[in-house]
């Protein structure tokens, strides 16, 4: 045990670092739950309590949510966390954090298998542990994070145990689960399967009988998609490039945009929930070492090293088939290849024949820039980001429902503006509203129980005292009970009373 700990001290340190970075203040940063997170969370709560989703469907294979029919995996994985920690921000995000930590460990094993180097493996895992791109999506509940971790697990399993029957079954099972995590998986997982088959064709073609059960597992995993085929296409139809006139031009532009150095190293994704403002998806210090790593991979004669070049070229395809681009979330398929490439570059410097003083200067310079980049990221993420992007995270709703929860017994009706989308699901989640009752209402968007949702203006339709929640600029009764501010101290909601 002691020798195991000593030999793997570096890996244990990296996993500890990854855990701290993904769990620290996870309930507070990002500053609020996004609508998709809340929908997943409430559906998971509903499954836990009743075995049915918010619409009353028993153990569904896809979740209707806001009409986009999301794959089921991410909702079911939330159930244990909600059972243990209750219905709140922390319980929704901890599962994603755990998957993120697992991805860091898997990166270590994947790199070690391919490069047979503990140094490259530790560096790869470390770079993913501190990666802004990976941290962003490990710290909130999104299906893409589950997809990428499961894909990584499948590839690692395949590389370690792909020659055995059990290994192939395990890899196929993981890929089958990955296929049912995220809409983009419908494109990415078949690409991964094809890539693994082509890559390991010689081995696979010699042992065809071993492929029967894995193939059946993969086929079975497509059942949720095929049973709900029309609905499974809805999301793709709304964001896909098929409706564009110049599809090939749009695709090429989208594909190449993911290699844009400004997107990778300077500005990142412009969508507020996908990146911290003022940072790229990768650190600036990674630019020269990635170049070195790419040169090493291209010049290598080892087939396994070319594996990553293939991965790099295939990774932007799912993101390029949708708009807008570049898109850090859909391009999560890149991870952890950039980090592994950077690790190779650093390892090349360490093992180079440069004279010791020069090598030391180079490594110290890179390390200094790396440390500065990293702490700048932490500062931007924990201090700036909650304020800069409060509105992207629909900040304000939680504070509204905390107020309602403590005062609702004083009112016969509670009316909430639906200007900021989906107040009904936020209400149900934050109030931990009984799912068995919620399911009975045919259209909760209009109202349920004593709660009603209104459009441009509210008018009293029921007798008794009413509590009204409006955006700050909308007309409201004169008696104001509370003003709700976002993390950035912008006025967001007014809570008023109508006697």
């Amino acid at each position: 045990m002691r020798s195991f700990l000593i030999r793997n001290l570096a890996l244990l340190f990296v996993i500890l670092l990854a855990s701290v970075l993904r769990l620290y203040k996870i309930g507070v940063v990002p500053p609020h739950l996004f609508a998709d997170e809340v929908s997943n969370g409430y559906n998971a709560y509903s499954i836990l309590k009743t075995g049915r989703d918010e619409y009353g469907n028993f153990l569904p294979l896809t979740f209707k949510s806001f009409g986009d029919y999301n794959p089921a995996f991410s909702v079911y994985t939330l159930v244990p966390a909600i059972a243990i920690f209750g219905v709140d921000q922390f319980s929704l995000r901890i599962t994603s954090a755990v998957f993120g930590i697992a991805a860091v460990a898997l990166t270590y094993f994947l790199s070690k298998k391919i490069f047979q180097s503990r140094l490259i493996a530790v560096l790869s895992a470390l770079l993913l542990a501190i990666s802004p791109w990976h941290l962003q999506f490990s710290r909130y509940d999104h299906e893409a994070n589950f997809m990428q971790t499961l894909t990584l697990a499948a590839i690692t399993t395949y590389l370690y145990f792909g020659k055995t029957h059990k290994g192939l079954i395990a890899a196929a099972t993981l890929l089958g689960l990955a296929l049912n995590t995220y809409h983009g998986a419908k494109i990415w997982i078949p690409i991964v399967i094809l890539f693994l088959v082509v890559y390991g064709f010689k081995t696979i073609s010699q042992e065809k009988k071993k492929l029967i059960i894995p193939a059946l597992i993969l086929l079975t995993s497509t059942i949720p998609i095929t049973l709900n085929f029309q609905n499974a296409l809805i999301r793709g139809q709304s964001v896909g490039i098929m409706k564009e006139k110049n599809k090939s031009e749009v695709f090429m532009e989208g594909y190449l945009s993911h290699f844009n150095p400004n997107f990778l190293f300077v500005n990142g994704d412009f969508i507020g929930r996908h990146a911290v403002t003022g940072m790229g998806e990768l650190y600036v210090f990674e630019f020269p070492v990635i170049l070195l790593g790419l040169i090493a991979l291209v010049g290598s004669e080892i087939k396994m090293h070319k594996f990553f070049l293939g991965w790099l070229l295939l990774a932007p395809i799912p993101a390029a088939l949708a708009i807008p681009t570049p898109h850090a979330l859909r391009a999560i398929t890149f991870l952890p290849v950039w980090q592994i490439t950077a690790a190779i570059g650093i390892a090349k410097i360490i093992s180079s024949k440069l004279k010791m003083p020069i090598k030391t200067i180079v490594l110290v310079t890179i390390s200094t820039i790396a440390i500065y980049n990293f702490i700048t990221y932490l500062h931007l993420y924990y201090v700036h980001y909650p304020r800069q992007r409060a509105l992207d995270w629909q900040d304000g709703y939680r504070q509204v429902f905390e107020f309602i929860k403590s005062h609702q017994q004083d009112y016969t009706s509670i009316a909430i503006s639906n200007y900021y989308a989906h107040p009904q699901i936020f209400l149900a989640f934050y109030m931990a509203y009984d799912p068995a009752l919620y399911q009975k209402y045919p259209d909760p968007k209009k109202g349920f129980d004593k709660y009603e949702f209104f459009g441009p203006a509210w008018s009293k339709t029921k007798p008794g005292k009413a509590l009204i929640v409006t955006p700050f600029w909308q007309a409201h009764p004169p008696k104001v009970l509370k003003e709700i501010y976002t993390t950035d101290r912008d006025l967001r909601f007014i809570i008023s009373e109508e006697p």
């Binding site: 532009e253 190449l256 400004n262 300077v266 500005n267 040169i295 010049g299 500062h379 700036h384 800069q388």
Partner: protein, 181 residues
């Protein structure tokens, strides 16, 4: 053939009356520092100064400026599909056959590219960058003509680039306003 593309594109750019600026602007540095510091009201001034200062902001603006000329859209507008794909191939070929020389050449190329962006006006920078990229392509002509398949691919890309330059007469990524339409 490579030289003819460079001449064609250079001639097209003579119609440009208003080049898109690519050099970093010092006014943006001060603006960026002030914008970022407003979010540091809760942090002490030393912390704010550590992360948001003219050095870090200048580095950020310089990188933005340099990387904007390495964007795929800009490069396609500058040297066309043949230039981009061709240089990628030349790089791949060079690394596979002579890594050391290719590494040195790549380093010098990036330094020349960077200095052109930082010190030259947009018009001269555009011509110099175009010349650099087409020269890099020409330096790998040995590899590009190695097999009949590569020669045919090169020829097809040349034709496509010619068409691309003609269709993209506006030089959208390089020029704000072109004289002849």
């Amino acid at each position: 053939m490579i030289f003819s593309l460079f001449v064609y594109r250079a001639w097209q750019s003579t119609g440009c009356t208003n080049y898109i600026p690519i050099r970093f602007q010092t006014q943006k540095v001060k603006l960026e520092v002030e914008q970022e510091r407003q979010y540091d009201a809760s942090a002490n001034s030393s912390t704010a100064r550590l992360f948001h200062n003219k050095v870090s902001s200048s580095s950020h603006q310089i990188l933005l400026s340099l990387f904007s000329t390495l964007e795929p859209r800009y490069l396609l507008s500058l040297v066309g599909p043949l230039g981009v794909a061709g240089v990628m191939f030349v790089l791949y070929y060079g690394i596979s056959h002579n890594r050391k020389v290719t590494f040195i050449a790549l380093t010098l190329f990036l330094v020349a590219h960077g200095l052109s962006v930082l010190y030259l006006n947009p018009k001269t920078a555009m011509l110099v960058l175009s010349f650099l990229w087409f020269s890099a392509l020409a330096s790998g002509s040995k590899g590009l003509s190695k097999t009949p398949r590569l020669v045919v691919t090169f020829a097809l890309l040349w034709l496509y680039t010619l068409w691309f330059f003609t269709v993209n007469w506006q030089l959208g990524e390089i020029c704000n306003e072109i004289f002849f339409n």
